[in-house]
Symmetry: C2
Subunit: 198 residues, 2 copies
């Protein structure tokens, strides 16, 4: 399994090779040029930059470096569990259990204390209860909106999503990055007017 050996460094390198697979997990959101769907690895890069650039709009008391780490690892479980389309309730049933099993396998590739640390960070993101996780979740919701708006409707248009579905999905922005809520409302109203959203 690990061509770099089973010692501490070998396990770290094995994990780093394994996570290359996240680049093959496709999301439903297209790139802004509509050339193809986005994958979860480049999405993770993009949201880390969203967090860095918009950090001044985060509520006080956020640890930005922690948020960035959280965002960089938050989708790793999709290597096994796949990306679940957020507007598909049937697919979402069982998502949590699939992702838990994925976390069991993936984080165990690392030396134990390092794997546990990253797993805790992932669990914090998934629970969405801490200030850092609330901001991270807001960023993770905002980015697909930017892509859908910029690509002329994106996954909203392809999957005939409604305005109220998007507003419900975007609620974490309201709580985790309230300064951006007016941007969301304006973008959704505009997308509806242009026929990108039902």
């Amino acid at each position: 399994m690990t061509p770099f050996g089973e010692d501490r460094l070998g396990r770290q390198l094995g994990f780093l090779v394994e996570i290359d697979k996240l680049k093959t997990v496709l999301r439903r959101t297209p790139l802004t040029d509509n050339s193809r769907l986005e994958n979860s690895a480049e999405h993770s890069w993009h949201i880390a930059l969203v967090a860095l650039v918009l950090s001044e709009h985060a509520p006080d008391g956020i640890d930005l470096s922690r948020v960035v780490r959280m965002l960089l690892i938050h989708d790793l479980v999709e290597i096994d569990a796949g990306d679940t389309f957020c507007y598909d309730p049937e697919a979402r049933a069982g998502e949590a259990e699939r992702e838990r099993r994925a976390a069991d396998r993936l984080f165990a590739l690392l030396p134990p204390e390092q794997g546990s640390m990253l797993r805790l960070l992932w669990e914090e993101f998934a629970a969405g209860d801490s200030p850092d996780a609330r901001f991270a979740n807001a960023v993770d919701r905002l980015q697909p909106l930017l892509l859908n708006v910029s690509s002329g409707g994106g996954s909203w248009r392809t999957h005939a999503v409604t305005r109220s579905q998007v507003l419900a999905r975007m609620q974490p922005v309201r709580t985790g990055m309230p300064a951006l809520w007016r941007v969301v409302e304006r973008a959704v109203a505009d997308a509806h007017e242009r026929g990108f959203l039902r």
Copy 2:
């Protein structure tokens, strides 16, 4: 140019939409499953994780959060300048000037003091002189080696690269993350033995 307006937040959002283009810049390294070439956005994600996971092997005095930020933005200039193949001396002529012009345009999309801050971080990476930049450069060199080894030769094989070219290219690992040098030497010797490297 910026559908989100020309105020501070609008410029930040415009920048975040613009950098989506990094996902369409292809590198020469294939993914570990050999399904396609890697793009510079997902590469940036991957090296940020390499830095996080291997941080204990960094020399003392590294600011890991700064290194991660540096890695997340280090390839943005490729949106205009393209990815320059590291083993192609002709392509590399003029690379610095192309990248400088790209930085002039891209970082100027942001509010001035924010753009300057990121540009300074990019310049620090490009110069490679500070401890943070040395570690960041080491990480940026090590990751393609992991992919090439795992994909059965990758860009080394496709472009008939020699062992001495790779060892020269990997020197930043020797200085920026010396604990990993034995991994590089072993990987290069093994790749040569298996015929992946001339």
